[in-house]
């Protein structure tokens, strides 16, 4: 009997220990307070990542008691500002070349692959025009709406896909509207005004559009490589390097990457992400 009692005691002790550790993990601000010199970090990212970053930042702030001063906007514009005189501590940009330019200019200390975007076909619910492939958009009479006037890479990427599929001219003929903004275009597909379009999967995951369109994958071979890649890097202006590194590690951790996955991106840490890193050569050299 005795040994059993001991066992119970030990289990009870272990349970309590685990419980208190868990409790401590729930109030981690207390645990990690004072871990860093700085109590805030300035982060800029490509606007497409904003929803995911806001969620991840919330978690990081809660855990570490650090304030993330976050800006999300069109990466090429932010990149231009950064290559000029603007300053931020961490930058998550789109298009590998931009990160490489920032490195060459000596503004960025290092970068890591963050995630990848992918393009999908969207149709109104029920897919009235029976669209299954990019080629189907070229069938006579299909009302196509394309975000061709959208800020780059929006329009160019979509044209690139159509060209690779060999249907650009035919689809342009079917195009009843060229939208200047993808977000503004979505309701036109939802309402059935347009029967098909091409967008990044992230659009179909936004709260206001989720579940309101049919989503059909496009073969990866048709994607233009440029706009697929997102990287995250620490800038030379980081006031507290340890904090900036820790934040980047967190964003690249499985937990934060799952957030990017939910928002429609392919996490760099996933199997598919690792293949893309190799294929697209996302390396900091």
């Amino acid at each position: 009997m005795e040994p059993k009692k001991d066992g119970v005691k030990r289990r009870a002790f272990l349970k309590t220990a685990v419980a208190s550790l868990a409790a401590a993990a729930l109030a981690p601000g207390l645990l990690s307070a004072g871990r860093f010199q700085s109590d805030s970090l300035q982060v800029w990212s490509c606007g497409g990542l904003s929803e995911a970053f806001m969620e991840a930042n919330g978690l990081y702030e809660q855990r570490n008691g650090v304030q993330i001063n976050y800006t999300g906007a069109f990466a090429a514009a932010l990149g231009k500002s950064l290559l000029g005189g603007a300053v931020t501590e961490v930058f998550a940009g789109r298009v590998l070349q931009l990160a490489q330019n920032l490195r060459t200019a000596g503004k960025m200390l290092y970068f890591r692959p963050l995630c990848f975007t992918e393009y999908v076909l969207i149709t109104p619910l029920g897919n009235p025009a029976q669209i299954q492939t990019v080629q189907d958009m070229a069938r006579p009479g299909v009302r196509v709406i394309l975000p061709l006037g959208a800020s780059p890479p929006g329009g160019d990427a979509v044209m690139g896909i159509l060209k690779k599929a060999g249907v650009d001219q035919a689809v342009l003929k079917n195009t009843i509207e060229k939208e200047s903004c993808v977000i503004k275009m979505m309701p036109q597909i939802i309402s059935g005004e347009g029967a098909a379009s091409i967008v990044e999967r992230r659009l179909t995951r936004m709260d206001r559009f989720a579940g309101k369109v049919e989503v059909i994958p496009i073969p990866e071979a048709l994607f233009p490589p440029g706009p697929l890649t997102f990287t995250i890097g620490v800038m030379k202006y980081a006031k507290d390097r340890a904090l900036a590194d820790d934040y980047v590690n967190f964003i690249c951790s499985d937990e934060a990457q799952a957030i990017f996955d939910r928002h429609g991106f392919i996490p760099a840490a996933s199997a598919k992400g690792r293949t893309l890193i190799e294929k697209l050569g996302v390396k900091d050299v």
């Binding site: 300035q42 606007g47 800006t71 999300g72 906007a73 514009a77 932010l78 500002s81 800020s151 503004k184």
Partner: protein
């Protein structure tokens, strides 16, 4: 000049103070949206494409704000004409405060001022052409989320010339309120122009009766430089106690009042 200083301020008339209080409260409620509309809205015409807007932090995207406002506005016109301008609009409040500092109040009646409110009609036409004719193009790189000053700087840095022109024209006309009091609200605002077009339908209004002897005491008191129930009157009520012959009333105007 002497005319302009002789504004009577009747004792115990607290309505203007109540109005200021409500305006200040509305600044807290709607100011953020109004501020974004001018400084960060990526569309040439702000406040109308909020449901498909890429800016994440603007209150205009909160459905209750957007629909609440656009349903309330026509209803308010039906009941009290342009009272939104006099009582609720944060832009109006800011303009009226700037107007307090202005060199010329220009609260007079003359031929030029009679036609100047047509500027609101012009503003309205431009807005309608941009909105319906050109589908209200997005004309700057939207700073979806960001810190206050940083976002402002980036917005201006990455805006198209069209956006810069529209923004500087609006800001310039508001600033011109330092020279002619309330110039934006009296002679330029498209929303004001829209409300002005329909305010005739209002059930209730501030109006003057046939006792009016054209002394213009109300005009000199009025921040909109007008007289009750004339062009630009917003039913603010400031003039209710200024009339020496008690010709100003609020309520339903009857035939017998004319």
């Amino acid at each position: 000049m002497s005319n302009q200083t002789a504004i009577s301020k009747p004792d115990g008339f607290f309505l203007p103070k109540v109005r200021r209080g409500i305006q200040a409260a509305m600044l807290a409620v709607m100011g953020q949206w109004a501020f974004y509309g001018i400084f960060r809205c990526p569309f040439l015409v702000p406040f109308v494409n909020c449901q498909v807007c890429p800016i994440i932090t603007c209150w205009g995207r909160i459905t209750s704000y957007f629909w609440g406002f656009w349903l309330f506005l026509p209803l308010s016109v039906l009941f009290v004409g342009r009272a939104f301008c006099g009582w609720l609009c944060p832009g109006g409040f800011v303009n009226q405060m700037i107007g307090k500092l202005s060199f010329a109040k220009l609260r007079v009646r003359n031929r030029v001022l009679k036609f100047a409110p047509l500027g609101m009609g012009l503003g309205l036409l431009i807005v309608l052409a941009l909105w319906f004719g050109l589908d209200n193009p997005r004309s700057m790189v939207p700073i979806r989320v960001g810190e206050f000053w940083g976002s402002l700087r980036l917005s201006f840095e990455h805006a198209s010339p069209y956006w810069l022109v529209r923004t500087f024209v609006v800001l310039g006309l508001v600033a011109a309120g330092l020279f002619i009091a309330n110039l934006w609200c009296r002679f330029a605002c498209p929303t004001g122009g829209l409300l002005e077009l329909f305010k005739g339908m209002a059930l209730f209004r501030v109006f003057k009766t046939s006792a009016c002897n054209d002394c213009d005491a109300c005009l000199r008191r009025c921040e909109m430089g007008t007289r009750p129930d004339e062009v630009n009157c917003t039913n603010c009520g400031d003039c209710l106690k200024t009339c020496p012959v008690d010709a100003i009333k609020f309520g339903r105007k009857r035939k017998s009042d004319e």
